[in-house]
Subunit: 193 residues, 2 copies
Amino acid sequence: MDTDLILQNISRHIQLDTTETDFFISLLQSKKLKRKEFLLKPGDICKTENFIVKGCLRTYTIDDNGFEHIVMFGIEDWWVGDLFSFLTQSPASYFIDALEGSEILQISKPNLDKLYERVPKFERFFRLILQNAFIAQQQRINQNLSFTAEHRYLDFITKHPNLEQRLSQKQVSAYLGITPVFLSMLRKKLSQK
Amino acid sequence: MDTDLILQNISRHIQLDTTETDFFISLLQSKKLKRKEFLLKPGDICKTENFIVKGCLRTYTIDDNGFEHIVMFGIEDWWVGDLFSFLTQSPASYFIDALEGSEILQISKPNLDKLYERVPKFERFFRLILQNAFIAQQQRINQNLSFTAEHRYLDFITKHPNLEQRLSQKQVSAYLGITPVFLSMLRKKLSQK
DNA sequence: GATAAAAATTAAAGTAGTTTAATAAATCAC
DNA sequence: GTGATTTATTAAACTACTTTAATTTTTATC
């Protein structure tokens, strides 16, 4: 099990001694996902929080007209899951699947509860992770309200310069909230400038 | 100082003994805001997290064209603040002001840090608060991507039935991401059904 | 209670983004 | 490697929403 990245991720926020580190790692499970393989579907109970060691996943919904809308992408060094479903152990609202062959480390709810109990500073760790995610989401809401599709697209590629290359335009458009046709038009227009 | 509501709010998530309760309350400061009074402006450092005892506040931005966009409303029993600015003690991105005469309870960053240290279960409490806010934001992002303005308006009034009466249509439209003119047209159309 | 200021309504013209459909290009599966 | 499927491009017609501007209604202020 490749735990380098997750331990590095954690050490950016809290310091663990060897016992604590070992205990934490004993609670993790490794899982590989093939491209297009699902980690979660609406109605499932989200049983784990998931740290991405390698690959790329997306969290999305499908609306009444069959269109996909991407709530977030996750790549290496990010956590993904349906938080509401995980916390309340109630049915999930989101699809999560792999856009590339991926590898994740999973911690189950019972194990996370054990972890909080035995190593309370993990409360702090997951609060910090959540804070960052919260702030990023708030910025995204504000952007969706304030900016045109063109502006949002330019923001997206400057903010995540490596990510666009790993995604199809269809995925990018489902994240930006526009059609693939319109994204194609935008890109053409921008390339002509 | 009216601490009933905040203690009730806390007791929904964690249990405090008398000493802990007293210590917590000793860290709070009460503040009254007149209608239109600012709690925060972009560039300020957000020095406190704020619990609303009474009234209604909004967190918003003004874009390059001078339009306001409301990221969230806050009413009784909610927490408001610019989390990023508060946590990093760096300049805020948002305006926060009162839409009604309001009363809030404030906890400063140094006091919150003291609180975490002396009563660690508050780490859990603020994690839970944050989780709920995170989930609500995620739903909003998804709604903004998936639904038309009409659908979002109907969702808003069914989800917050009491809130609309306290807000002008201008505020509601700045939250939904449409113009006041278009909201007026929507309302007319819906009333004719 | 009168006056000023802000908010809401209505209509008409304009635009950002969608839809449909046809074609080309890229990727997948065997 | 080849055929099948998915993705991207382009154009033209369409629609949800904006803009502007004029009028009415509501709210705030002294």
